[in-house]
Symmetry: C2
Subunit: 360 residues, 2 copies
Amino acid sequence: MKIAVDAMGGDNAPGTIVEGAVLASKEFGVDILLVGDEGVLRDELSKYKDDNFAISIKHASEVILMNEAPSIALRKKRNSSIRVAIEAVKSGEAKAVVSAGNTGAVLAASSIILRTIKGVARPAIAVSLPTIRGTSILLDAGANVDCKAEQLFQFGIMGHVYAKYMLGKINPSIGLLSIGEEDTKGNEATKGAFQMLKKSSINFIGNVEGKETYKGNAEVLICDGFIGNVALKISESLAEMIEKSLKMMFAKNLRSKIAYMLIKPYLKAFKKSVDHNEYGGAPLLGINGICIISHGNSTSKAIKNAIRVAAEFVKKDVNAHIQQDIELNLEIQDSKQKKRKFWSHIKDSIPFPLEKGRDD
Amino acid sequence: MKIAVDAMGGDNAPGTIVEGAVLASKEFGVDILLVGDEGVLRDELSKYKDDNFAISIKHASEVILMNEAPSIALRKKRNSSIRVAIEAVKSGEAKAVVSAGNTGAVLAASSIILRTIKGVARPAIAVSLPTIRGTSILLDAGANVDCKAEQLFQFGIMGHVYAKYMLGKINPSIGLLSIGEEDTKGNEATKGAFQMLKKSSINFIGNVEGKETYKGNAEVLICDGFIGNVALKISESLAEMIEKSLKMMFAKNLRSKIAYMLIKPYLKAFKKSVDHNEYGGAPLLGINGICIISHGNSTSKAIKNAIRVAAEFVKKDVNAHIQQDIELNLEIQDSKQKKRKFWSHIKDSIPFPLEKGRDD
């Protein structure tokens, strides 16, 4: 099995990425297809004297930078490492792709080149969420803004499959992130998704409020990509503020400095437990191919772990299960629902009322 | 000046509410109109022997419980303390109302009875947010889901007025909570609001990502009520998890127990700095009247502080300033914007493409 790795993507590329690939190949015995500037990558690889790893290089002359606008960059740089790596999956040369590069570009290129699994409207980024009860996953973490009810519903199905086959949860609990527990609480999209999820084959536990998130009762938490992104980033921001505040407290006087020295190893252990580098990367679920998106500042360990996740995705045939479960629940996304929505959209937009009877 | 206080609302009513009212009347010299069961309230008041406070009672025979559905409760309980207190503002008997009761019911009753300030589409709940740089405010914290661009824009204007007149910020910085800094990042509503805010008279600093939230660069942070609710509640949830994790760490062995004893007073101080009881309550901005919503489990100190906030709202004539600034920025919400939206909605809903030229 060969995994394509975008060797030029991320803040620490290519050195850290190549190191992660070497580690993964040695530890997990996977073949790696490093994609990027051939000369540069050859130099990087030459740093590793032993040769008990299976790494080949595929040349890509261009690099999409972290802050470039994805749509423009993908159009202008036809030979970018991101695109070439994803095309290697399309052609069958590789089974999966790992990239720590420009997330928007990875997302766009995957969607355009690989397309979605049959029946899936939009792909979603699934990320790990540390909770009191262990690791949950949250999706979508930022691939889609302005999601419709049907999309949230499909995220639930895909999250179920991921938690079941990749995380080994037997009957994963699926929650819908909302502003109240009752099915009447939420916005238009979540209220619609609630009704569909209720009828589905998965273990839907209902709405989960923000305040319940880190309790971990939902092993899979569904939301649109705007909410998901804000929720995750605001958590990071708060954790950072708490850390800074604690540090300031600890620096106050001798008493607190001693306390800090005593507690430091435990704080370190805590930070490690919520460290994204341990998880490696976030899969883009629903893509007709396998794509793992790693954090821009991933360490070599994170890249190694992302490659491990990619290889497991292949072995466990996750995409086939997604397609099966989407088909199994297809009738829930009935056409009546769509029809009603069509008219309600028009009705909302029109400044004068329609005659009664036309809106269903 | 008389402030109406819903004496029956909240987890600790009426005892704690009455105590808060007594404290406020003594400390700030405001007249209080306690609304609730007359007999019960007379008993509560009799606990305070000295009489250097100005409190009168207005009878309301019913109580809306914390977990009741607001719309049903308001219809069924015509004589609830929430409704009677808000009607006292409508009639001019009181200048403002404070309630720690069912937030949905307070919100609905305020909107129905008091209506919005001229030009304001929807009211928004503004809450205090502790940041590294001090206190910011976030709105909307949960009054509106599915906000349109115009509503987010108006939240910006109202937040500006609140920060300027109530918090004494000279030229408050206004940020729009979104998923990227560029004006092209966000959902349909935030992208529309960005363009309007850019043209407005207020100090708009652009999009603020979740990860920047607690840095406090934006003194006012705008978002729709769904996002605001999730963002705040998820923060609470994370803070709780961190606290639990720290406690578990501290309990590990003698070394960590000693560290905990040394650090305990500082942790307490930190918790106090982010305690909502210090702020008292969240104003419902945009209502044609003054309404302060307190947390359900408010202490008497929180109620006292909420009454102080209500009195300041009156003194500083915040609503007149909101109306002025909404009028000043009225032309930005142009009809062209609305027209374009009308067609784009229809276009989105129609499963076949419209002829070119009809969508503008």
